[in-house]
């Protein structure tokens, strides 16, 4: 199986080994290629509804996943494909859910925005902006209730950061010292509204200050910086010090969803990001510069990923639609 999750126990130090970098490269590339393929399938009419791509933001989830350990949970919004791949969910099952087929993680009944894996402790995939934030704190509450040292990674965007329930959650998480990391994926645009047009204060990492929650701004395009911040935050949570906020400054290359013409920003702005700050190129450069990998090594990885994605896309088209009887199942346990 692809995309096996690295254990933080295996390498809990900040320093990146060759294996770490190769792993990050591979994981980020898997997400990138998966999302490109999803975009293609959408264009072919094989994926319907809303489809929010994670392209450009890969370093955030890959860096943070490298700091997790068994039993840690994650929950995110509707831009969720990257999170699922990074926590080890099967690309075939994810892609087949996008095409609405029985082989999908939700048997075709959830779609792009609503996917879950109990096995991988992935609690969605939520379509309502901000709603996953108290849910994440609830996962952390369960950890505390059970007396383990697991952490709930709760991802949301710069748009959700203005939601009222986020602050209700900050209050309770801090009051009860819940082991939750609030990861604000600040990709600069809440749909078509830029951060400065929607937020009274742009420094989202300070939004927990009123509740006594420490926060940190992180270069979300640099997977090593993400990992370093993640290690610090998980240590804070695992040792009973309560919640932590990480503002990941990142950028999505594609529109908000597939149906977004992206008129709110210039083509040049996107191009500049791609050329100068791409998270995958960054790791690729490190590997090559430091002679940790050859061009041939990287090509081999590219080839392997391409095969995985093609297999997933094929599976997502071959898997049958859910049986009509599935309409009536899973309403009640």
């Amino acid at each position: 199986m692809v995309a096996t999750r690295r254990s933080a126990k295996a390498n809990a130090s900040n320093a990146a080994s060759k294996d770490d970098l190769l792993h990050f490269y591979r994981e980020m590339l898997l997400i990138r290629r998966f999302e490109e393929k999803a975009g293609q399938l959408y264009g072919m009419g094989l994926i319907g509804g809303f489809c929010h791509l994670y392209i450009g933001q890969e370093a955030v989830v890959v860096g943070l996943e490298s700091t997790t350990k068994d039993g840690d949970q994650r929950v995110t919004t509707y831009r969720d494909h990257g999170h699922m791949l990074a926590c080890g969910m099967d690309p075939k099952g994810v892609m087949a859910e996008l095409t609405g087929r029985s082989g999908g993680y939700s048997k075709g009944k959830g779609g792009s925005m609503h996917m879950f894996s109990k096995e991988k402790e992935f609690y969605g995939g939520h379509g309502i902006v901000g709603a996953n934030v108290p849910i994440g704190a609830g996962l952390a509450f369960a950890n505390q209730y059970r007396g383990n040292d697991n952490v709930a990674f709760t991802y949301f965007g710069d748009g959700a950061a203005n939601q009222g329930q986020v602050y209700e959650t900050f209050n309770m998480a801090s009051l009860w010292k819940l082991p939750v990391i609030f990861v604000i994926e600040n990709n600069q645009y809440a749909m078509g509204t830029s951060l400065k047009r929607a937020s009274s204060t742009p420094a989202l990492y300070t939004r927990g200050a009123a509740f006594g929650i420490p926060g940190e701004a992180v270069d979300g395009m640099d997977v090593m910086a993400v990992r370093a911040a993640g290690l610090k935050a998980t240590e804070h949570c695992r040792t009973g010090k309560g919640p932590y906020i990480l503002e990941m400054n990142t950028y999505r290359y594609r529109g908000h969803s597939m149906s977004d013409p992206a008129k709110y920003r210039t083509r040049e702005e996107v191009q500049k990001m791609r050329e100068e700050r791409d998270p995958i190129d960054h790791v690729r450069d490190l590997l090559v510069q430091d002679k940790l990998a050859t061009e041939d090594d990287l090509k081999a990885i590219d080839k392997e990923i391409k095969a995985i994605i093609n297999e997933a896309a094929q599976y997502a088209q071959d898997s049958p639609e859910p049986d009509a009887a599935e309409l009536w199942t899973d309403v009640y346990a």
């Binding site: 939700s106 009944k109 959830g110 709603a131 108290p134 609830g138 509450f141 209730y145 959650t169 009640y332």
Partner: protein, 455 residues
């Protein structure tokens, strides 16, 4: 001139209480605002202040007296220069903020007898002993029993722990189960409901108490979008084994934003189960079933019913299945279908109709989703007439749904159109007379029953 001090009401729904303690004695002079007595109800103890200055001329009700009705004279206050002989002629002074009219508007404190009804619900074995309990005590016992049984069950909400519940439902739970499992939340329904859903996703079994379901509107996104839909959206991988409970519908004189009845609203949502008990036994049995259920269950309680007493079976583990109606009273001329506090009107109407020779069968739905329409259909096939009773709004109500079910499943058996008795199609007014008009009344139920029986 001497004035009477009347028994005060501590809450909009209080009908009687205990005069626990006098803090003054005859002959003492009191000032306005001075605490003169302690009054207790099953819900709370409150200090009672003098509303005027004067001398306590006579104490009319001894301390320790139970069951003192609101507005009963409890003492006489003399003005300067008056002596005790003036006490006898004292006119009544309104006590506290309670207008006298309201006491009359309040529903009868005791449940009407379920004459001609099987005493026990089908789930109670023959020979079972019963004891009288309030709905409030029954709900508390249900939670305590389930929390003893399953360590994953916990209670969270506003004032549930140290305050012992805003309506004293969680009395004693903090002491028995500790702060880990009985959790006071900030006043943030949206946030704590979502947090509880997350805990349920992780396998815990939260009981979320809303101080009233009116406030749960702030949390309705989590109740519906997060709790009710996740099992389906995850292809059956995970759901929300949890309970949302609290008082629903009108209390007394709390007006539009505190009186909304959400029975029909929640009953519409697939993925939710919805129950609304009337008796203490059903409150206990249904809440226990709800806590054990692997789905999100809405338990709609009623503030006015909290203090009413009913017979509750003395069984170690008494549960009532969700989705089963109860025939509260057998009859042959028509079927009255109701649930929750609506049963008060239904049973009162059945009593009155019996005096006129009309035999009404009364069905307590108990569960609204899934709804036991089979029991209703079977009854209507027998009686050929049906009246529904609820306090909620008329449009898309439980009654209108039942009407459509009966038209489809019992059309050839109906000898009259099904009539729906509901609350009026207006936000709840505050004024006592308007509030009375806005709610469904026993007289309206009787009139509807006579209409369908052509009497």
């Amino acid at each position: 001139m001497a004035t009477q001090i009347l028994m005060p009401a501590l809450s909009p729904t209080m009908e009687e209480g205990t005069l626990a303690k006098w803090l003054v004695k005859e002959g003492d002079s009191v000032t306005s605002g001075q605490i003169i007595a302690e009054i207790e109800t099953d819900k709370a103890t409150m200090e009672f202040e003098a509303v005027d200055e004067g001398t306590v001329g006579k104490i009319l009700i001894d301390e320790g007296t139970e069951g003192v009705k609101v507005n009963t004279p409890i003492a006489v206050l003399l003005e300067e220069g008056e002596d005790a002989s003036a006490a006898a002629a004292a006119p009544a002074a309104p006590a506290a903020e309670k207008p006298a009219a309201e006491a009359k508007a309040a529903p009868a404190p005791t449940a009407p007898a379920e004459a001609a009804a099987p005493k026990a619900a089908p789930e109670v074995p023959e020979g079972t002993k019963f004891r009288s309990q309030t709905v409030r005590e029954a709900l508390r016992d249900a939670m305590a029993e389930e929390m003893r049984r399953d360590g994953d069950v916990f209670l969270m909400g506003e004032e549930v722990a140290e305050y012992q519940g805003a309506y004293k439902i969680s009395q004693g739970l903090l002491e028995e189960f500790g702060a880990r499992r009985v959790i006071d939340t900030p006043i943030t329904e949206h946030g704590f409901a979502g947090l509880a859903v997350g805990a349920a996703f992780a396998g815990l079994k939260p009981i979320v108490e809303f101080m009233t379901f009116n406030f749960a509107l702030q949390a309705i996104d989590h109740i519906i979008n997060s709790a009710a839909k996740t099992l389906y959206m995850s292809g059956g991988q995970m759901g929300s084994p949890m309970v949302f409970r609290g008082p629903n519908g009108a209390a007394a004189r709390v007006a539009a934003q505190h009186s909304h009845d959400f029975a029909a609203t929640y009953a519409q949502v697939p993925g939710l189960k919805v129950v609304q008990p009337y008796t203490a036994a059903d409150a206990k049995g249904l809440l226990k079933s709800a806590i054990r259920d692997r789905n999100p269950v809405i338990v709609l309680e009623n503030e006015i019913l909290y203090g009413r007493s009913f017979d509750v079976p003395e069984l170690d583990d008494f549960t009532v299945p969700i989705g089963k109606a109860r025939i509260a009273r057998e009859g042959s001329d028509l079927t009255i279908v109701s649930f929750g506090i609506g049963m008060t009107y239904a049973l009162q109407a059945a009593d009155e109709l019996a005096k006129e020779g009309i035999s009404a069968e009364v069905i307590d739905l108990r569960s609204l989703r899934p709804m036991d329409t089979e029991t209703v259909i079977a009854s209507v096939r027998k009686t050929n007439r049906c009246v529904t009773v609820e306090e909620g709004f008329p449009v898309c109500s439980i009654g209108s749904y039942l009407s459509s079910v009966l038209m489809e499943k019992a059309f050839d058996y109906l000898d009259a159109p099904v009539l729906n008795c509901t609350g009026k199609d207006v936000p709840m007014p505050y004024a006592a007379n308007l509030e009375k008009l806005a709610l469904v009344t026993t007289a309206e139920v009787i009139a509807a029953c006579k209409a369908v029986t052509y009497r």
